[in-house]
Symmetry: C2
């Protein structure tokens, strides 16, 4: 046994190294996960490993909204029951999943693929903004909801999108900012609290 492989098996060592490449997984956790897999049947481990390979080899991005998809047009865009006159603009596919989990939005999405960030060298042409403008022009869109992160880059992108989309006959809104439900007021940051007072809504019983 040489010093570079602290385990008695190179196969074991390889498997541990592969897990440890994942974010937030160290060698100890990786070892625990590999030993767990060793207790499963060959078939189960084959299903496990192939799930990622199949995903990576076959995944597509929806030609309409850029969301992750098994087909040319994603399941959300293809769903006739959804309201195709409303587009929710998000930064990436995680945000689609987060919003879908709320079950509060029944329209379609548009995944930008990031936000405008001069610091990171990401300009409007790196994002799917032109395709969004195209959709607003060609599809009968009534409302575009901007659901980007409340950061400087998100606000810059919001402003840019607003400038690009305002010439068209489309309502443009942003998601509400405010104190989170269940949060203690004293722990809310001042900017959020300030905005939540400015954007107060009528009290209804």
């Amino acid at each position: 046994m040489n010093a570079s492989t602290p385990y008695s098996s190179t196969l074991l060592d390889n498997a541990i190294k592969e897990f440890a490449k994942l974010p937030g997984i160290g060698r100890k956790t990786a070892l625990r996960l590999v030993l767990h897999l060793l207790r499963q049947s060959n078939e189960e481990v084959e299903t496990f490993g192939n799930a990622f390979i199949t995903l990576r080899n076959n995944i597509q991005y929806c030609k309409r909204c850029h969301n992750i998809s098994d087909t040319e047009i994603c399941q959300i865009c293809a769903d006739q029951r959804r309201d195709s006159s409303t587009i929710c603009v998000v930064e990436n596919i995680n945000d689609v999943i987060s919003i879908e989990n709320t079950q509060q939005f029944k329209g379609l999405y548009h995944v930008l693929g990031g936000v405008i960030s001069p610091m990171s060298g990401i300009g409007p042409s790196d994002l799917s903004i032109d395709m969004l403008v195209d959709r607003v022009q060609t599809e009968s869109i009534k409302e575009v909801i901007l659901a980007l992160s409340p950061t400087m880059e998100g606000d810059t992108t919001n402003f840019y999108l607003y400038k690009k989309l305002s010439p068209f006959n489309v309502e443009i809104s942003t998601i509400a900012r405010g104190v989170s439900i269940g949060d203690e007021l004293e722990y809310a940051d001042e900017i959020t609290l300030g905005r939540s007072i400015l954007n107060r809504t009528p009290y209804t019983v």
Copy 2:
């Protein structure tokens, strides 16, 4: 999109489900890990998935010590530089890895595959005890170190092994129990502290 798959892609959903089967990994972490894999190249993901499949399909257990191995006899047993007259008896392969990491032990191992536990229905015949006795009889073993967990089951197994091995001309020892290095005395449990007083060692400068 139906209610059972909250994601727009069945492939994505499958990959997330596979990660979420692992211990300590929930759906949110699983999603994060899958999105990480999607940012890697096809080749990297193929290497990732295949590492586990290859491990599961090709792993063997050393015919001599029952440690995990790529070959019939594991790298530790095959290593001529190690002291083949000392056997350290451990519960499972994790313990081999832990002891190897200390770099303090240069002998061979014997992996029992568990401890005697009448509550869980594990008796001596379920463990590789006969093979250990056989090794002590046929190999020229000078010392057997019992390195089982300091639990009731571990102690029971220690006693059983002692009874089985004491007829042979072999030294039997157990790993030292005591206050951990760096531990505050006041936080040590009473049994450990009590044992560490009973088993005190001469002070050397």
